[in-house]
């Protein structure tokens, strides 16, 4: 056996032993580190839904009180999972919703509908638990009985109830970037 082969032989052993030694030190140090696990769903300090950012794209929700019925969301939806029905009362000439259904099975949580909404009435909630036994149960019906369309008042809302709703819609819309520099960037940055 030549000298270099012997050196290599010894080197191989040393390298193996030292690298294993080093690796074992790292793994041992993990016994003292805090685990990353979130013990969902019960052993958590706070509901996960409460920790999610406002931008989080969870299951879609619609605030029918501030929905203008402009159909922008229905049109932009790439998979047509939103179906809106609007009827006109022939006598009073008043239009009202007869249907506002969203098929959560189909929804791909892209957020395009929320971006198109002028009032922030359709938006992604922080809810993500949608398990149910029947796919039909995943269709969300937002209109139970015919409801009138929302018309924004010129001078702003006066009713405290409605002010809160409009503000909530605005809050969601503020998260979006807009060409005129709206959204989160300009407010803070």
């Amino acid at each position: 056996m030549s000298m270099s082969a012997l050196t290599e032989y010894v080197n191989n052993i040393t390298e193996t032993v030292t690298s294993i030694f080093e690796g074992m030190a790292i793994t041992f140090s993990h016994f003292m580190r805090r685990p990353m696990t979130i013990q969902y769903p019960d052993r958590i300090p706070q509901q996960i839904q409460d920790t999610l950012p406002l931008r989080y794209r969870g299951i879609l929700e619609v605030d029918m009180d501030i929905c203008t019925g402009c159909l922008a969301c229905e049109r932009i939806c790439p998979i047509t999972c939103i179906a809106i029905g609007i009827e006109m009362n022939k006598e009073t000439k008043q239009r009202s919703f007869s249907q506002f259904d969203i098929d959560i099975c189909k929804c791909m949580y892209c957020g395009l509908c929320a971006e198109a909404c002028p009032t922030g009435s359709i938006r992604h909630s922080q809810e993500f638990e949608g398990a149910c036994y029947n796919p039909a149960g995943l269709v969300r019906h937002f209109v139970t009985e015919p409801a009138p369309l929302y018309k924004p008042k010129k001078g702003g809302e006066t009713e405290p109830n409605m002010i809160a709703k409009v503000e909530t819609g605005k809050k969601y819309m503020d998260e979006l970037a807009t060409p005129d520099g709206g959204g989160a960037g300009t407010e803070e940055g």
């Binding site: 193996t16 931008r55 794209r57 932009i76």
Partner: protein
């Protein structure tokens, strides 16, 4: 002379064993299948069989609007969704002549580089797992989880981001998020060191990867190997530097190239090492772009009914799995006429048949992992 009668000696004949690796095999990274012909442990041939995850993303492109196709591109490569977003948006912008808002460009770079780190973490993590070390895999996923949390803050989704829009980005990056990204980088860089000490320098790991299935430069070009796999063969080629797009020319970063550190040039270990180094480079890019992030709108004005003039565009993006090409044809209507996504994994799969001859079963797993092929990206 007397004729010597020679008894014919027949070589000991053994049949090759045909094994089907996949589609439900633990280390095929999605649903891939290899028809492997082996002689014991030695593979004589491995024929890749793809298509299990074909979701006809290219056909869908012809049926939805330009804006509406962006979320679909997420699904082309769900480990690096941001880059498919980027590719399609760039193609649409090129066609429609849309100027991207400058802040939007920086937001894109930040999101993309975060995504690149996440994708490479999956790559090197699963690499470790395929070699048999589960711990580095979970450590990599732990760091990726932090990136997912950041992504959630940036764009509201953890996997299929749909962050980019034609003309910019959908959501602006908040200052506090910027701060949190910096915090993450401060935490992440020592972790990469630790990862190196735990896995990269491990003798067993090196022995498993060095000299395994080296790709020559010629093969790499012939088979159109791209991205980190190409760079591991010693070809210094990065779209971000060589066909510059977005704001990458303003940023300072190095292109890691394989050097044959532990064995042959372009072997599995080189491919692994290039990815590890690229993560550190991405950290550098992130720090710079966070510093340079300008003020202003993050998206420019684009009509809701985006109708680019008739024409075609081919753009390339440096995705974690290499040059992702978007060939988009418009006929002037509301819908793309044809969308073609060219991905790095697809061409890399074409090479496996050639590389697999004469290696061992365990090496095939290392080879697949080192090429970082990703089933959704292959099949689209």
């Amino acid at each position: 002379m007397e004729e010597v009668t020679q008894t014919e000696i027949k070589p000991f004949h053994a049949e090759d064993m045909t094994i089907s690796v996949g589609p439900q095999h633990p280390s095929t990274h999605g649903v891939l299948r290899f028809v492997v012909k082996t002689d014991g442990e030695i593979i004589s041939e491995a024929i890749p069989d793809v298509g299990y995850l074909h979701r006809s993303i290219e056909k869908i492109g012809e049926k939805v609007t330009w804006h509406g196709y962006v979320p679909y591109t997420d699904r082309a490569d769900y480990l690096a969704a941001m880059f498919a977003n980027q590719g399609f948006c760039m193609a649409a912008e090129k066609l429609g002549g849309v100027e991207v808002a400058r802040r939007g460009e920086f937001c894109r770079v930040i999101a993309c580089e975060l995504n690149r780190i996440a994708s490479h973490l999956i790559s090197v993590g699963t690499f470790g797992q395929d070699i048999g070390a589960i711990t580095p895999f979970i450590h990599a996923l732990r760091e990726r989880e932090s990136i997912n949390n950041l992504m959630e803050e940036i764009c509201g989704a953890r996997l299929t981001y749909n962050y980019l829009r034609i003309g910019g980005v959908g959501y602006d990056i908040k200052d506090e998020t910027c701060h949190r990204i910096t915090q993450f980088l401060d935490h992440f860089e020592p972790i990469v060191d630790e990862y190196n000490r735990l896995l990269t320098n491990n003798k067993i790991f090196i022995e498993r990867l060095a000299n395994v299935a080296p790709i020559t430069r010629e093969d790499a070009l012939q088979y159109n190997i791209v991205g980190p796999n190409l760079r591991a063969c010693g070809v210094s080629w990065d779209i971000r530097r060589d066909i510059p797009y977005s704001v990458y020319p303003e940023l300072d970063f190095k292109i890691p190239v394989g050097t044959g550190e532990m064995g042959a040039l372009g072997d599995c270990y080189d491919r692994y090492l290039v990815r590890m180094q690229e993560m550190m480079e991405s950290c550098k890019i992130l720090r710079q772009s966070l510093k340079m992030l300008p003020k202003g709108p993050a998206i420019s004005k684009v009509p809701v009914k985006f109708k680019p003039p008739a024409g075609e565009a081919y753009v390339r993006v440096e995705a974690p799995r290499g040059d992702m090409g978007f060939y988009v044809v418009s006929d002037g209507s509301e819908y793309p006429y044809r969308v073609r996504i060219r991905t790095g994994s697809f061409t890399a799969m074409g090479l496996i048949h050639k590389l697999s001859r004469g290696i061992m079963v365990a090496d095939l797993i290392a080879l697949i992992a080192s090429l970082d092929v990703d089933a959704p990206e292959i099949d689209r």
